[in-house]
Amino acid sequence: MTSVFSNVQTAPSIEVFALTEQFKKDSNPNKVNLTVGAYRTEECKPWVLPVVKTVEAQLAADDTLDKEYLPVTGLPDFCASAVAVCFGEGHPVLLSQRADGIQALGGTGALRLGYDFLRCILGRDTIYVSKPTWGNHKGIAQQCGYPNVREYRYWLASGRCLDEQGMLEDLTAAPEGSVIVLHGVAHNPTGCDPTPEQWEKILAVIKQRNLFPLIDLAYQGFASGDLDRDGRVPRLFADHNMEFFVAQSFSKNFGLYNERVGNLAIVTQSAEITGRVKSQVRNIIRKTWSNPPSHGARVVATVLRNPALAAEWRENIKRMAERIHITDQIGMFSYTGLSAAQAEYLRTNYAIYIMSDGRINMSGLTSKTVDRVAQAMHEAVTKCSA
């Protein structure tokens, strides 16, 4: 009898995980992994934030804590703290309750909820992502059934900077009501962000064309070491009375990658509308994962609600941001401009792993490896044509 799954093809492997798998199996003693977007110390080790260790020990010792289900929309203390991090304590959008938060499974989960709501409840059929963008932005759109998944110009290869004109043109031409996925800070993969002046122009077009902004905020604090500086974009949109969503991730800025801590911040014209939107997202959550994991959210909420711990956290973030070298590209990633062939060259000849689009994880570099990597990259560019 033929299997019912005989027509199931092998799916293409997801590059970042596949490369890391390959890296793990590589026996070259000088191998370097610059692919996956996770922070590494100078010793090239993962780093659990000291403040996280403190709080986890505290939680483990607390016998009054149980393992009951969280509410569907998450731990209330966490959601409130998360939106406060996004907009800054005391921002009018919080006081008026036009903004509210919904706990999600990491930044990906928050994006998924936002995309799902906009597609299924608001009926949006067109979504724009930057060219280039994080691979999963398009993947989520496809899974949610968006008929039109488009790109707006973003990276100007020749100038190694933002393609301002191209971006504004493409946004201006976007059909009214289109969803626009923006990177709040530390654009992934290019590391290149619009300037404040450029953001004003972008916002103006979005307003004028009545596009719906969905801000992906995965690196707040992590990019510059300063939460307020990195939170400028959502605050700008809020100050302009825009309606928008923010998909926040606490993977990087809390180093809580595998506990899947995220928040979907909803901002509408009124508390009442926000309430209705939240209730619909709640419905989507019920059909997707029912309710979110408690551990990571408890850690984040405990830190953020305790002034001393929150201060320690801000110090931890500064430490991480400082280790990552910043030129005029910002945050964890840098777009080297290397081609797929050159990336392959690096892997084969030097056991240096970078993404095939030329993206490198800056924190994967250490003082011990940076020279070798630089030399290898130079060689790849000269010996291997793009």
Partner: protein
């Protein structure tokens, strides 16, 4: 134009520019209705507001100990302490989660000697508890399985329909519960199942059916399996209570193992919310048992494609606890004892309730309370009787007469028996 007219014209112009914008933005949300109220939540909320000191919440979907408190299993606490000492990192788990967890989870379900495991034929992914497993499964079947129709027992868990519907499957029902006996409608079930179009998917509760507590007996499972085999239906198991139902993990997995030993393919959703009390940690697994390792590899690769755009990779805290509990002999023994303890308390409450109803002088047949199994019990109470329980006795349950046996304890079981007798005599 004089200045007044100019001002008016200017205001009018400004108003025209603003108005369309406002009405366009109002149109963003105008169609967004308030989401439907949650019936179970409604019960809990009414319960919270009630000032009656004798009040009982029989809508709770989580285990409670004999003092009515949430219960963190001692074996789980121990595992968690151990993990703290290990100082593990927070690196992303793979898309399909912790391999040591999924391996142990599937071994628990199938028994470690099952050839499917040694042959590497299970495509297994760590999931966001049972709901997450259902969601992955529903999405996978909606995309790859030839038939897009899934059949549920009537009734079934309230969230089955939304999960499968959201993923794009159509939903139908087969007879299951017989309100006349408060038991299994074997004839009706077999009749309906024998008429299901060949190749459709059939969802089965592996043990401790939710919401009725009614499980087929082994010989009834055998008959059902034969029909399913004949109709070439695809068995999709939801196992949320392994160990929690009878107190024995092997007994509760009997149906799943029987179907597989009969050579049927199957999908399996596992939850560790109840049997390890890990509710909020969201620990589960989804598996498809394939014909070959080669098929397993293809199926697993496609599962990853579905998971990545949902949440990328799963949370590890709970899975690390579960893996430790399942793989360390001392912890595993302790856990088996903890889970039997929970099951025994539930079974004990069922027995006591039935005995006390008899003592109250009830002439009704309450045998089904003992025959049913797991967290929930379909009492057979009618909506009017439920209404009276709520209003006159502050005993909260859902309109369908379902009670959560976990909400009963030795200090209120007599009160419950008394109240039920009063509204049914």
């Amino acid at each position: 134009m004089n200045s007044l007219v100019q001002t008016n014209a200017y205001s009018l112009l400004k108003a025209c520019r603003i108005m369309p914008l406002a009405s366009r933005t109002k149109a963003h949300w105008a169609s967004v209705e308030m989401g439907p109220p949650d019936p179970i939540l409604g019960v809990t909320e009414a319960f919270k507001r009630d000032k009656n000191p004798k009040k009982m919440n029989l809508g709770v979907g989580a285990y409670r100990d004999d003092t009515g408190k949430p219960f963190v299993l001692p074996s789980v606490r121990k595992a968690e302490e151990q993990l703290m000492a290990q100082k593990l990192d927070k690196e992303y788990a793979g898309i399909v989660g912790l391999p040591e967890f999924t391996k142990a989870a599937v071994e628990l379900a199938l028994g470690s000697a099952n050839p499917i495991l040694s042959e590497g034929r299970n495509a297994s992914a760590q999931s966001i508890s049972g709901t997450g497993a259902l969601r992955i499964g529903a999405a996978f079947f909606a995309k790859f399985y030839p038939s897009k129709t899934v059949w549920f027992p009537k009734p079934t868990w309230g969230n089955h329909n939304p999960v499968f519907g959201h993923a794009g499957m159509s939903v139908k029902q087969y007879r299951y519960y017989d309100p006349a006996t408060c038991g299994f409608d074997a004839a009706g079930c077999l009749d309906d199942v024998s008429k299901i179009p060949e190749g459709d998917v059939i969802l089965l509760h592996a043990c401790a059916h939710n919401p009725t507590g009614v499980d087929p007996r082994q010989e009834q499972w055998r008959e059902l399996c034969d029909v399913i085999k004949r109709r070439k239906l695809y068995p999709f198991f939801d196992m949320a209570y392994q160990g929690f139902a009878s107190g024995c993990v092997d007994t509760d997995a009997w149906a799943v193992r029987h179907f597989l030993s009969e050579g049927l393919p199957a999908a399996l959703c596992q939850s560790f919310a109840k049997n390890m009390g890990l509710y909020g940690e969201r620990v589960g697994a989804f598996s498809i048992f394939c014909d070959s390792q080669e098929e397993r590899d293809r199926v697993l690769s496609q599962m990853k494609i579905l998971i990545r755009p949902m949440y990328s990779n799963p949370p590890v805290h709970g899975a690390r606890i579960a893996a430790a509990v399942l793989t360390q002999p001392e912890l595993r023994q302790a856990w088996l004892s903890d889970v039997k303890g929970m099951a025994d308390r539930i079974i004990g409450m069922r027995t006591q309730l039935t005995e006390l109803l008899a003592k109250e002088g009830s002439k009704k047949n309450w045998q089904h309370i003992i025959d049913q199994i797991g967290m929930f019990c379909f009492t057979g109470l009618k909506p009017e009787q439920v209404e009276r329980l709520i209003k006159e006795f502050s005993i909260y349950l859902t309109k369908d007469g379902r009670i959560s046996v976990a909400g009963i304890s030795s200090n209120n079981v007599a009160y419950l028996a008394h109240a039920i007798h009063q509204v049914t005599k």
